[in-house]
Each structure stands twice: as structure tokens, then as C-alpha cells.
């Protein structure tokens, strides 16, 4: 059964990942090579240090390193809003597949979110074996077993946490709150550190964190000394397996539709409905109709709402500690609002402009059926995206005004201006990406990222290029110590941005004319037995 499930998924993924052209496949491979290349390098560095450092040093720092691996493994998929592949349980429920087998597939799929960590752990293992002070190659079975069990513990726990969080994120009302809590947990230590929190009060806790009762400490002891040092790790792994199974079973019984039963906007307030109608006051139809439709649809899409909340809260929380550094003038504080705005612009890209037709799925055909040019359709989507981007920045500005950050109005204006110009570049390129690499997006999989593979590759390639003119404007200010130089360069960047937006959108319209069948095909494509995001 397990091979049948995996094969079905491979067949479903084959066309969506690689089948739409050699260019896309090459880009996906290049992106994967780049990402895993960095992690391979890190694995080699880890191997080098593990092989050459003295035993006492490794004994001190190995638990810390494994704690970092554990935290990255469990938190990173959540923080990056990308939880990797998982079984689409609703599709699997009709088949007589034992739950144990399904759980095994689910666990195997967790590997998709931690390939980089397996590389690092392999590097660590090889390094430890090459270190003569730690027993050398005769310890191969001990080291291998310890790493395998530590990886299994993380995999079981990650599977359980994923299922738990997926269910919570599908419940309206607590979804956005949970996202905020998750982000706060992730950045709280740093926030405490830079704001000069009374850390000495936590010092009594440190020996406890190094206690062998924790899986990372015990895994380190096992790697260095062998069994029975790993007793608690085995217990933790068993507990993680039980937790993973339990959460998996609960997810099997979970009814997404029931959890979202109150999705209907019956209670939508009159003033909200009035807000949606605002574009009609200034824009002509069909542009106004498109903008209204986008505003309504996106505001009611769980995944968009989550990303929107993350856009301002995560950026704010990540950059705030640097701004609040005591007694030091941080360069970050000068550009705090601009940085947070750019972060929000980037994050919103995955649900608005990088794959503009993603949430419409097969219904995007309507745009090709209606007597409206695609230029207008894209313009409508872009205007709606811009409205959300600027709402996001307005929210951030409001928070900054409330907090004692001392951001002058000129900096707020600068943040808006720079983001507006960056929006021109990115949305223009996004239009091209939306017709070149369209992909149906799942509105329910709120934890999943929108851009992946080829689209992510495009983001990585175009982002630095697109923002270069803005960077040059800052360089001009730095070089000439002149605001005039900055704004002159920024004006040039805006003019270039408009030209790029126009050219990219025209190219997108032209491409859509010839490739509409392929675009509709991609957007209508169903998913296999797994959701890979």
C-alpha cells in the first residue's frame, strides 16, 4: 500500500513539477542545488569541527548544537509557513489502508522538511567518527544508532506537531492568534536578550537545560559514550511516536468543513461591505469589479489572512529587538519601518502577486471567457494586492506610532515611497510569473507557502535584481550625504519601475494569449494523495 500511495503521488507531481517545460525543471533543480549546496557546506564545516576539536569542547557544545538542530527541525517549518508534504487524509479515508501504514508514510514525508538537517547530522556523525579522541571508527554503530534515534524522535514529534497545528490553523478564530503565539515563541529569547531583560533570574534554569533528561543532551551523551546514556532519548522517542500517532488519528477524524462552518460572511458588518465597495468610487468597471472581487475573496481566504497577520507581526517582532538595543545606535532603527514594510511586501507576494491566479484555480477561466482584456484583469489584481500591501504598512506604522520608537514622519513617508516603488517592480515581475508558472493554491492549507520550486527560484533570481535601483538610491544618499540625491535616484527607480511594470505586464498578457490552455490546465490540476507545499 505504501509504495502505491507514493507512486500515485509521484505520478501526480510529475507534471506539475517537471512536466510543464524544460526551463521550469532546470530552474527547480538549480534552486534545489543552491539550497542543499549551502547545507552541504555547513555539513562539511560541522564534520571538520567535530573531527578536530578536543573532547571537552565537544562535550560542552554538542548538546547545544543538537538543541539548535531540534529547534530548527520543529520551529522552522512553522516560522517559514511551509510544512512540506503530507497526506491529504480526506482522499485516503475511502481506502482500506491501515492507519499504521498511513502514519508511516506521514513520517517519511516529514523528511521533506528536514533534508538539510539530515545532511548536517551526517556531517556531525562522520566528524565524530574521524575524531580519535572520541573512539574513532569502531564507534560507528553507536554513533549511527544515536543519530538515527535522534532523527526518529524529531520526525515523530514534527509529524505530531504538524497535525496538531494544521488542525488548529483550520479553526477560525484561533488561527491568527496561534500564528502570533508561534512567532512570539520563536523570537522571544532574542527580544529578551536585546532589551536587557533580567536574564540572571533565569540562570538557575541553565543546569536543568543541560540535564540528561532532555533528548538533545542525552543524544549528545549517547554519541560520546554509548548506551545506556541514551535511555531518556529512547523514552522521548517512544513518547514522540505515541504523540505523533495520537495526533495523526485525531487529524483523520478532523472535519475541516465543520471547523470552518462559520466561514459564511453572514455576520459581515455593513461597514466592511462598504469598504469593499470603495474602489468603485474611484475606478471604472471592469477594473473596479475585479478589485472588489479580489478584496472580498482574499479577505475570506484563511491562508491569505494568516500570511497578512504574519506580514506585519513577524516583521515587527523580528526587527524590533534590533531597534530597541540599549545604549547603541543601530543602523536598523533608521530603516526599521522600511525593512518591515519590505518584509511584508515579500511575504504577501506568495498569496497575491507571485501566483495571482492561484486561489482562483480553475475558475480563472472566467477571465478568459469574459469580454475583458487580461491586462485589465491583472491590473485589478495588482491594485487589490497594492491595497493590502499598504494596509499592512499602515498597520505597522500605527504600531510604531504607539510604541516609543521615535520614528519621524519623514521615515514613515520614506517607507511608503520605497515600498510603492518596490511594489511596481515585484508586481510587474509577478504578473509575468503568474502566467508563466501558474499553480493552483489550496485555500485550506493555511500553513503552506504559495511560492515553491520554480516560483521560489524566480523570486530568488529576480528579487535582488528588482530591488537594485532602490538599493542604488540608498547608496546615493550614503555616498553624497544628500537627501536630494536619494530622492533623485528614487525618482529614477520609480520611472524604471513603471517601465518594467508595463513591459512585464505586456509580456504576461502576450504570453497568456498564446499559453491560455496551458495556464488553465495548470490551475485546474488536482492534487495527488498528498499535499506537497
Amino acid at each position: 500500500m505504501i509504495p502505491a500511495i507514493l507512486r500515485a503521488q509521484w505520478l501526480s507531481m510529475r507534471f506539475s513539477r517537471l512536466g510543464s517545460g524544460r526551463r521550469g525543471a532546470v530552474l527547480a533543480i538549480v534552486f534545489a542545488a543552491f539550497w542543499y549546496g549551502i547545507w552541504s557546506l555547513l555539513a562539511v564545516v560541522t564534520e571538520f569541527f567535530a573531527a578536530s576539536l578536543p573532547r571537552w569542547y565537544i562535550e560542552t557544545w554538542l548538546p547545544v548544537g543538537l538543541l539548535a538542530v531540534f529547534l530548527y527541525w520543529q520551529l522552522m517549518p512553522m516560522a517559514s509557513a511551509s510544512m512540506g508534504a503530507s497526506l491529504d487524509l480526506r482522499k485516503m479515508l475511502v481506502y482500506p489502508v491501515p492507519r499504521g501504514s498511513l502514519f508511516l508514510v506521514e513520517v517519511l514525508l516529514r523528511v521533506t522538511t528536514c533534508g538539510e538537517l539530515l545532511l548536517v547530522l551526517t556531517g556531525l556523525g562522520v566528524g565524530l567518527l574521524r575524531n580519535p579522541a572520541l573512539g574513532g571508527w569502531p564507534a560507528v554503530s553507536r554513533v549511527t544508532l544515536a543519530i538515527v534515534i535522534f532523527a526518529a524522535f524529531n520526525l515523530f514529534l514534527a509529524a505530531g506537531l504538524r497535525n496538531l497545528i494544521e488542525r488548529l490553523l483550520n479553526r477560525r478564530g484561533i488561527r491568527e492568534l496561534l500564528a502570533l503565539v508561534m512567532m512570539l515563541v520563536a523570537v522571544l529569547p532574542r527580544l529578551l536578550l536585546v532589551t536587557g531583560a533580567p536574564f540572571h533570574r533565569f540562570e538557575p534554569l541553565l543546569p536543568a537545560a543541560r540535564n540528561a533528561i532532555w533528548p538533545w543532551t542525552d543524544a549528545a551523551r549517547w554519541l560520546l559514550m554509548g548506551f545506556p546514556a541514551g535511555g531518556s532519548l529512547v523514552l522521548w522517542t517512544a513518547a514522540a511516536w505515541v504523540f505523533g500517532q495520537w495526533q495523526f488519528t485525531r487529524s483523520l477524524k478532523f472535519d475541516i468543513e465543520a471547523a470552518q462552518a462559520d466561514l459564511t460572511p453572514a455576520k459581515e458588518r455593513t461597514w466592511t461591505a462598504g469598504l469593499y465597495r470603495l474602489p468603485s468610487l474611484v475606478l471604472p468597471d471592469p477594473l473596479a469589479a475585479m478589485v472588489e472581487k479580489e478584496l472580498r475573496s482574499l479577505a475570506r481566504t484563511p491562508r491569505f489572512r494568516l500570511v497578512f497577520v504574519m506580514g506585519f507581526s513577524f516583521g515587527l517582532i523580528v526587527w524590533l529587538p534590533m531597534t530597541l538595543r540599549r545604549g547603541r545606535h543601530s543602523g536598523v532603527s533608521d530603516y526599521f519601518l522600511t525593512l518591515v514594510s519590505m518584509y511584508a511586501l515579500t511575504l504577501l507576494g506568495q498569496v497575491t502577486y507571485w501566483n495571482a491566479f492561484g486561489f482562483d484555480r480553475a475558475a480563472a477561466q472566467i477571465y478568459f471567457l469574459a469580454p475583458v482584456s487580461l491586462r485589465r484583469v491583472l491590473a485589478g489584481k495588482n491594485v487589490a494586492a497594492a491595497i493590502f500591501i499598504f494596509l499592512e504598512i499602515a498597520a505597522v506604522s500605527l504600531v510604531c506610532a504607539v510604541l516609543p520608537l521615535g520614528i519621524p514622519p519623514a521615515k514613515i513617508g520614506e517607507a511608503f515611497l520605497v515600498t510603492a516603488i518596490a511594489t511596481l517592480y515585484l508586481v510587474g515581475i509577478g504578473n509575468l510569473g503568474s502566467v508563466t508558472y501558474p499553480r493552483a493554491m489550496n485555500v485550506h492549507r493555511v500553513s503552506a507557502g504559495g511560492a515553491r520550486g520554480r516560483a521560489q527560484g524566480l523570486v530568488f533570481i529576480f528579487y535582488p535584481v528588482a530591488l537594485l535601483p532602490i538599493f542604488l538610491a540608498y547608496l546615493a544618499r550614503y555616498a553624497f550625504h544628500s537627501q536630494a540625491a536619494f530622492y533623485a535616484a528614487l525618482t529614477g527607480a520609480a520611472a524604471l519601475g513603471m517601465a518594467i511594470y508595463y513591459m512585464a505586464t505586456e509580456s504576461a498578457v502576450s504570453a497568456a494569449r498564446t499559453q491560455r490552455e496551458a495556464i488553465i490546465g495548470q490551475l485546474s490540476r488536482g492534487e495527488g494523495p498528498m499535499v506537497t507545499e
Binding site: L263, T264, P265, A266, E268, S280, D285, P286, A288, A289, M290, E292, K293, R296, S297, L298, R300, T301, F359, D360, A362, A363, Q365, I366, F368, L369, A370, P371, V372, S373, V443, T514, R516, E517, I520
Partner: protein, 251 residues
């Protein structure tokens, strides 16, 4: 201009790889006709409709709708077509009313008119639960919304791919009455359906397509006067009178 047929298709071809989905289709549908376009699964019906709507570019041949050539006069043609596709193409995060208003405005109706027509269509199709998102609609309700959307701009030509699929008997009766009313006012309906009884009762003319080619075309009055039912004709011309082979393991 109005003497030109509603649909005139000559030598229409669509080839995927080395397989012709539609292979030299010639078809003329006069204005004001209720035309049934039939065929077995995979015969090329949906591909033909998708080419008529401009969603799929043909590999060869010529298409003229309401006297205008496709793709040269694409936007003008689209403004006068109402489409009910085989799968309901609706924006799930809008309510039925919001969707109808959106479609009306995309077809050039002033907002006030679109709103008014959307409200009356919701009433006509018994979709009064207008605050419910389309995502929560049943299949039948989705079909009704799609049908209502095809009517909102008062088109001259309807292209309908399995419009009654998944609709209950009451809804289907309502939709048939509306369609017949549209034909009476002079609109043309080009309909595909696997429910041959419906086609037999509603249509003036039928064409049967198999393996991308028209294998039968005729007037329903001639058929009704004869001894064969539409089903008999269908089975005969598509060569579907196959022998039933039992599978040993299914016994």
C-alpha cells in the same frame, strides 16, 4: 448580419500530440435553434465548446459565431455568449449574489443594473441564501449559479456543457423552462448532455460526434417521426453495441 448562422464551423481541428481530439469538424447552427451536441465520453464535445469560447486555440479550421470571426473579434463575441461549463467555474470565496454581480459588471453592465439582475436571478433560481459562500454550495446549487451567471448579460448564444448534471428534478425543470424561453425570444442554445431523453425533448436539431468527427446530424422532428429513439440512433452511430464480457473474478 442577423442572417448569418449562430455557429458556423469549418474544418475545425484540435490535435494533442499525435491524437486528434477534434478532426475536421463542419457544423452550422442556425439562429434561434436549440441544438444538441452529443457524443460518447472523450468524443471531443468539451474540446469543441472550449474552442468555440476561445479557451482553446484550434489547430486548424475556422470559427464564426453570430457572424463574427474568432479569434479576430474575440471580445465582441464573448460579450454576446453565455457559457455554462462542464465544471462550475465559480469563485468560491464570493456569495452567489456577489458572484453574479461581478460577472454582470465584467460583461459591461452598470453596477446598479448588475446588482438588480443578480438579485432577480437569485430569486428565479431559488438561491435566496445569498449570504452563503459558494464554497459551501452543493453541486446542484453551483450549477444554478453558473446558469444564472450565463443569463445575466442577456446573451444571444448559449454554450452549455452538461448543464443539468447534478441538478435535482425541480431545478432541472426550472432550467429547461428558462432555456426554452430564451429560444422563444430568439437566442440560440448549443447544448451537450449525456441525458438523451432531455435532448430528445428539448432540441430542434442534434449532431453526434465520435472520435472528433460528426457521425450523424439531423432534425429532431424527423427522428420523432421515425421508429428509432435518439438512444437507438446514438448507440448505432457510435458503434457502442458491444458485447458484454463477464470478468471471471467478478462473478
Amino acid at each position: 448580419m442577423s442572417d448569418s448562422p449562430a455557429i458556423a464551423v469549418h474544418g475545425l481541428r484540435k490535435v494533442y500530440g499525435d491524437k486528434a481530439a477534434v478532426d475536421g469538424l463542419d457544423l452550422t447552427v442556425p439562429r434561434g435553434c436549440f441544438f444538441g451536441f452529443l457524443g460518447p465520453n472523450g468524443a471531443g464535445k468539451s474540446t469543441t465548446i472550449r474552442m468555440l469560447t476561445g479557451l482553446v486555440p484550434p489547430t486548424g479550421g475556422a470559427i464564426e459565431l453570430l457572424g463574427m470571426r474568432l479569434p479576430e473579434q474575440e471580445l465582441a463575441i464573448k460579450g454576446r455568449i453565455g457559457l455554462v461549463p462542464d465544471e462550475s467555474l465559480l469563485f468560491d470565496r464570493l456569495t452567489g449574489g456577489e458572484f453574479l454581480e461581478f460577472v454582470g459588471r465584467m460583461y459591461g453592465l452598470p453596477r446598479a443594473v448588475a446588482l438588480e439582475r443578480a438579485a432577480s436571478l437569485l430569486g428565479l433560481f431559488e438561491l435566496r441564501e445569498s449570504r452563503k459562500l459558494i464554497a459551501e454550495y452543493s453541486k446542484g446549487m453551483r450549477k444554478r449559479v453558473a446558469m444564472a451567471a450565463s443569463l445575466i448579460h442577456h446573451p444571444d448564444l448559449f454554450l452549455m456543457d452538461e448543464p443539468f448534471e447534478g441538478v435535482d428534478a425541480v431545478g432541472a425543470r426550472l432550467m429547461k423552462d428558462i432555456l426554452l424561453d430564451q429560444v422563444r425570444r430568439g437566442a440560440t442554445i448549443f447544448l451537450t448532455s449525456h441525458v438523451l431523453e432531455v435532448v430528445e425533448r428539448l432540441c430542434d436539431r442534434v449532431a453526434i460526434i465520435d472520435k472528433g468527427r460528426i457521425v450523424h446530424e439531423g432534425d429532431m422532428n424527423d427522428l420523432r417521426a421515425g421508429t428509432e429513439s435518439l438512444e437507438d440512433v446514438f448507440v448505432r452511430v457510435v458503434g457502442a453495441e458491444r458485447e458484454f464480457h463477464e470478468l471471471e473474478w467478478l462473478r
